[in-house]
């Protein structure tokens, strides 16, 4: 009896150890990366991406709960929480409550953490950025000037030798203003680009949105500046809704079709009615 109990206990113990070891071996390492975005000095937000190497290749991990912090990973500095989507990305707008912490320094660090789960151990990522902004303006003859500044102590100073993209914002992406997509800032932190996209459709008033961008910069992050300019062609949307077309609703067919169809019907049925009258005439003659 004692022997049996001992064997049963040993089997259970081995099973527990084996399963535990197996479950630990299943866990993959979670990698988190952070991006900082400043859109036109109006919206500041962070995008964290969760990845893991599974079956020999990196895969985006959805449904990972992430905590976003400013300066350090303490509860008072918690910016908010977000869960990664099907692309493994989680976006968090930096809330106004972080203003005091944000204003303390010219440089800023962000921390994103994830708790340990069944699949992954806990993970942490840190991003440090230097606050920067882009100013965009126009000169006569459709020239564009964009200037990059960084915050140094409490003053904005121009930044040289950084590649800026100057483009026109379109629905599907950015369109270069001329053949050159990017320009390197000079000693004044400025780039100049000539607008060569004549006859480009603008909005209803002919406005185009110019955009100057810094993409995934290791010091400044992602920064954009926008400006509306009346350099486009005025587009008046001509709606065919409720007009007389072949695809319109009942009673709104094109005039030519109505004329043609009704003329044919009228002509043929006039003949038929005439013939019915002839039957009456034949009848009369027979009476």
């Amino acid at each position: 009896m004692k022997l049996n109990s001992s064997i049963a206990f040993a089997v259970l113990l081995f099973n527990f150890i084996g399963l535990n070891a197996f479950s630990q071996a299943e866990k993959n390492e979670l990698t988190i990366s952070i991006g900082y975005y400043n859109n036109n000095s109006q919206i500041h937000y962070l995008v964290a991406q969760a990845k893991s190497k599974i079956d020999g290749r990196f895969q985006q991990i959805p449904n990972v709960a992430l905590s976003f912090y400013i300066t350090n990973a303490t509860i008072p500095n918690l910016l908010g929480k977000a869960v990664t989507n099907e692309k493994g990305e989680a976006l968090l707008l930096i809330p106004p409550s972080a203003k005091n912490e944000w204003n303390k320094s010219a440089k800023q660090s962000f921390i994103v953490t994830s708790s340990a789960s069944k699949q992954f151990d806990e993970a942490t990522a840190t991003l440090e950025i230097t606050k920067a902004k882009i100013m965009i303006d126009t000169l006569p003859d459709k020239n564009i000037v964009a200037t990059l500044f960084e915050l140094m102590d409490s003053a904005w100073v121009p930044v040289k030798e950084v590649d800026l993209k100057v483009a026109i914002k379109r629905l599907g992406g950015d369109l270069n203003v001329n053949e050159t997509p990017t320009y390197s800032t000079d000693s004044l932190g400025a780039v100049a680009a000539e607008f060569k996209r004549e006859k480009l459709p603008g909005d209803a008033n002919g406005y185009l949105t110019l955009i100057a961008k810094l993409d995934e910069h290791e010091i400044y992050g992602n920064i954009t500046a926008e400006k509306l300019v009346p350099w486009g062609v005025v587009i008046k949307h001509a709606s065919n809704f409720d007009k007389r077309t072949l695809f319109a609703r009942r009673g709104h067919s094109p005039w030519w079709l109505e004329l043609l169809a009704y003329s044919i019907v009228l002509a043929v049925w006039s003949i038929l009615i005439y013939l019915i009258v002839q039957i009456k005439n034949i009848k009369k003659l027979g009476v």
């Binding site: 072949l246 695809f247 319109a248 609703r249 009942r250 067919s253 094109p254 079709l257 109505e258 169809a261 019907v265 043929v268 049925w269 003949i271 038929l272 005439y274 013939l275 019915i276 002839q278 039957i279 005439n281 034949i282 009848k283 003659l285 027979g286 009476v287």
Partner: protein, 435 residues
Amino acid sequence: MESIAKQKIVEDLLPQKFGKPGKIWVGILLVFCALGLFAYIRQLTKGLAVTGMRDYVSWGIYISNFVFFVAISLVGSLITAVLRLSDVHWSTPLTRIAEIIAVSAITFASIIIIVDMGRPDRFYNLFIHGRLQSPIIWDVVVITTYFFVSILLLYFPLMPDLAILLKFKEKTGAGLHKLYTFLGSFWKNTNAQIHINEKAVNILSITIIPVAFSIHTVTSWLFATTYRPGWDSTNFGAYFISGAFLVGAGGVIVAMYIFRKAYQLENYITDSHFDKMGKILVLLALLYLYFNVNEFLVPAFKMKKSEEDHLLGLFTGEFAPVFWFAITTAMIIPILILVFKKGRRPLPAFIAGILVVIGSWFKRYLIVTPTLLHPFLPMHDVPASYRHYIPTWEEWSIALGSLAGAMLIITLFARIFPIIPIQETITETEQNETK
């Protein structure tokens, strides 16, 4: 003309009571009609789910039948109008056969299109919400017009015959006599009446040709105005009309043979009629073959990726047996039979006519269904039954019932009215004698 000869013509061509074979034939047709009606009641109560039609194949054998009926109805314009206007007189004994085929076919074309509707009680919506831009509306208008034109073309030449029939009350019976009185008691065979009648028939003969062309062209546009493999063709109007004339002429030859045998009309529907109709059928079969070559060879030569499955399905795939059967029976074999003089004798011509009619029905099936099974966007996540179309017994019963119904109209018409125009035959015989 001697009155004895005239009397013989009248006696030969008067409608005859059904003998035993006639009664059996009507009985068989009534059984098929009843079966079709029963199946349709099931369809009405249970919905279109009793058919094999699903999301992709939403037009099955009902629409094939519809196209077939519209096609065969065109024969009225071919025999009556085209040949009359061409001053061809040998076709006179065939005009009424052609016209009654046209009327019965167009009647059942209208019926079968309503049968294809899941909710026929909503048919009135077509008139309330129908759009003039839609070929479906054009089809409704043109079918209605063609029906009335065909009825008038049947009625005007019938008037003199009705007056003749009224003289034979004892033979025809009191019931039919009342009908003849209602329809034709006013006919006195005066010059004025004859003049109006001839003028009306001439006007109708001219009118029916564009209407007939419209009816089948518009039917072809029901397909060709949609963007689908096999239907996206500018050739469709001419292709449909040539096929319609072929099946119509085939149908007339079949009817000629049966009426000639059943009513002993050898003196009126002669071997010469079969010979001439045989020649017309060869011409029409060659014409339709030519359009088929255009319709299939050119796309096959290009073999666009999006149309490949549809074309290969017809040439070598699941529809190949039906496709080659239709091409062979509707065109190639009839041409081979009728191109020889011996083949244009009544029996071989009758066999060729039957082959044309059967092959043409399957040809309509091939126009409708394979295209629906090969949409440009591939089928995804659909039940297996959506990928194939197998008509159910209800569909077959309704389709066969409608075909039986069309034949029943022709049969009953031949029982009530002279199937060969009596007065016209007398007049033409008199004219031939004076020559």
